[in-house]
């Protein structure tokens, strides 16, 4: 994985609350056996009409969304299904951070493992970001802050080890494999 330190981008705003992973990646796209190429299906049922044509009013189809890598979403994004296809799709589309006031557990965990930074900010900051789409923000993993256009920095929590892995491009599989002796000892101790 590529090390990540700072993500600077204009924001795209999807203000709906409780955006579930079925919206992010509808189930009919889960029959894939690869993690590649899911960006084209991202938010498919909000993004395309029945004929497969882009719906002009949907935010990702607007010209100003092009090149944005920070998604600001309504409270509790990522609820529902554990499908990692949701963060795969967001990443493949070009997003590198998702900001909300609440992020569902499994989606947050999956995002951290795929270079998509889940950023939970306080309710006031969240409300301001929802009301001001397209602003330039900087998500900094080193300082654990989001910097807003007025220069104000807002802190966000992030699990220490996941942050370390993102900053250093380390993957957790390698870390777990390096714990083989401890795992063997556990199995011997418990008879597992």
């Amino acid at each position: 994985m590529e090390p990540i330190r700072t993500i600077r981008s204009r924001t795209v705003v999807l203000a709906s609350t409780n955006i579930d992973t079925d919206q992010i990646m509808p189930a009919r796209f889960l029959t894939t056996t690869s993690r590649e190429g899911l960006g084209k299906h991202l938010f498919a049922d909000w993004r395309y009409d029945a004929a497969g044509q882009p719906i002009a009013e949907f935010v990702l189809n607007k010209p100003e969304a092009a090149g944005c890598s920070v998604l600001v979403a309504g409270r509790n994004i990522g609820c529902g299904s554990s499908r990692e296809h949701a963060p795969w799709g967001l990443y493949d589309y070009g997003f590198r951070a998702v900001i909300s006031s609440e992020i569902a557990d499994i989606f947050r965990s999956n995002s951290l493992k795929n270079g998509l930074v889940p950023v939970v900010v306080d309710a006031d900051t969240h409300a301001w970001l929802l009301a001001n789409p397209g602003v330039e923000v900087a998500v900094d993993l080193e300082t654990r802050t989001v910097t807003l256009p007025d220069g104000r920095s807002v802190a966000f929590p992030i699990e220490a080890f996941a942050r370390y892995c993102l900053l250093n491009g380390v993957d957790e599989t390698g870390y777990l494999l390096s714990q083989e002796a401890a795992i063997k000892a556990y199995e011997a101790r418990t008879g597992a």
Partner: protein, 466 residues
């Protein structure tokens, strides 16, 4: 000794390495359940890195999400219509053969929805840790197992190391007292709990369901409750094991046998939250005040008790949900016309669910213009239902009796609700498009689903109970 919670006891017993400020705990996983949808990319990583499945004896695979429920397609008499689904089935067969993982495949009499077959086989046991690349893994918590859904990267972690990196969750006690009124089921109870907690009220927490109402539930009912813990955002649901749990497990093919059984039960009896143990939050529900529940919106927290009107006003999200659902704010759900009914899923696809639905369907006909899909949760349930003549009850009424699978809960296999149609569904999610593009899902209990099937409308099942 400090009083500890059930969650804490299971957690501690599975710590390979305890958590620190800098590193999460390394948690040992006793049972890894797998299926075709969330594993292919994990096996790709194993291949790329030259890794094996560390504990094939703790890994079990089945096929449920992408599999047809149509017998001819399922058993290969005609090709599977969705080529990508067929490919995914073949891929799991190939991966299991290559890595030595046991697969309860297409022709296995033990195949079924992953969260149904674990308990059915006796693999789901108190005090164990269970994971699966599927959010409804919370179902297994009904046995006092710490069970939660994971993503595909984590599936890879467990395949390769039998461990996961985890931060300890908070605990949320949901205390339920009082007898469930007649016609009010475990499904209604959990829908009421989700409404009370909200769809993110459980985020970061493991819910422990406690109280006399929970103790009085059968194992199948407890599974329905724990299954939907994730719909309140919780990592897992837990119910302390008791005589009901032991009676369910005794004699199941993969449960401990003989002297091992007695030792296991003695161990399982210690799996309770000690009196005075601290939890992070607590809520209480009086079950005796509940009525049958049905959802009206686009998340499982948007529900009403029958007789209660949909809220008259709401925010922009409420308005969007109303527009999607084609319902009018302030209206009653009773009498709402419906076109489809789905009876099945890991929430309500077990034998008792089919029996309860059949008790309403028996001697009646599916209403004209209604499509009623009945999908047993496993092939074992299908066989048991057929032995009891339930298939005849459904078929005689005009329902479609299918092979086991996830089916119309998420429509991956092509079992879809028509665009714009209302479907009373015993599954767990009423998200936009969940059962098909434009599908309008009304979540409810098996008896309400059956009542809707025979009347063509949302009907109070209590008026049809014998």
């Amino acid at each position: 000794m400090t009083a500890t919670t059930l969650f804490e006891k299971i957690w501690r017993a599975h710590e390979v390495v305890a958590e620190t400020a800098d590193t999460p705990a390394i948690l040992y996983i006793d049972l890894h359940l797998t299926h075709e949808v969330t594993t292919p990319q994990a096996y790709t990583v194993l291949r790329e890195r030259g890794l094996r499945v560390r504990r094939t004896d703790r890994t079990l695979a089945t096929l449920d999400h992408s599999t047809p429920t149509d017998s001819d397609q399922l058993f290969g008499r005609v090709p599977i219509k969705i080529e990508s689904a067929a490919n995914q089935v073949r891929q799991l067969e190939k991966n299991c053969a290559e890595f030595g993982v046991e697969l309860l495949g297409i022709h296995s009499p033990n195949r079924g929805v992953v969260h149904i077959i674990g308990p059915e086989l006796g693999l789901t046991q108190p005090g164990t840790t269970i994971v699966c690349g599927d959010s409804h893994t919370s179902t297994h918590g009904a046995f006092g197992a710490l069970a939660f859904g994971i993503g595909t990267t984590e599936v890879g972690h467990v395949l390769a190391t039998q461990c996961l990196l985890q931060r300890k969750a908070k605990t949320l006690a949901v205390n339920v007292e009082g007898a469930l009124p007649r016609g009010v089921t475990a499904k209604d109870l959990v829908l009421a709990i989700i409404r009370k907690l909200g769809v993110s009220g459980g985020t970061g927490s493991v819910i422990e369901y406690r109280g006399s109402t929970i103790r009085a539930l059968s194992m199948e009912e407890r599974m329905t409750v724990c299954n939907m813990s994730i719909e309140a955002g919780a990592r897992a649901g837990l119910i302390a094991p008791d005589e009901t749990t032991f009676a369910y497990l005794k004699g199941r093919p993969r449960a401990p046998q003989g002297a091992g059984w007695d030792a296991a039960v003695a161990r399982w009896r210690t799996l309770v939250t000690d009196p005075g143990a601290k939890v992070d939050a607590e809520v209480s529900i009086d079950a005796s005040t509940l009525a049958p529940m049905i959802t009206y919106g686009t998340n499982p927290g948007m529900s009403v008790a029958l007789g209660e009107a949909i809220p008259a006003t709401g925010d922009a999200v409420f308005a969007k949900a109303m527009a999607y659902m084609g319902l009018t704010p302030g209206q009653q759900m009773l009498g709402q016309k419906i076109e489809e009914v789905f009876l099945g899923s890991c929430t309500n696809g077990r034998l008792s669910d089919l029996e309860q639905a059949a008790s309403i369907v028996r001697g009646r006909k599916v209403a004209p213009g209604v499509r009623f899909l009945v999908v047993p949760g496993s092939q074992q349930i299908k066989l048991a239902a057929e032995a009891a003549g339930l298939d005849r009850v459904f078929k005689d009424a005009g329902a479609d009796w299918r092979e086991a699978g996830c089916s119309m809960c998420l429509g991956m296999n092509g079992d879809l609700v028509a665009k714009g149609a209302y479907c009373v569904s015993t599954s767990n999610r009423n998200f936009e498009g969940r059962q098909g593009v434009g599908a309008r899902t009304l979540l409810a209990s098996p008896i309400m689903a059956a009542a809707a099937a025979v009347t063509g409308r949302v009907t109070d099942p209590r008026t049809l109970l014998a």
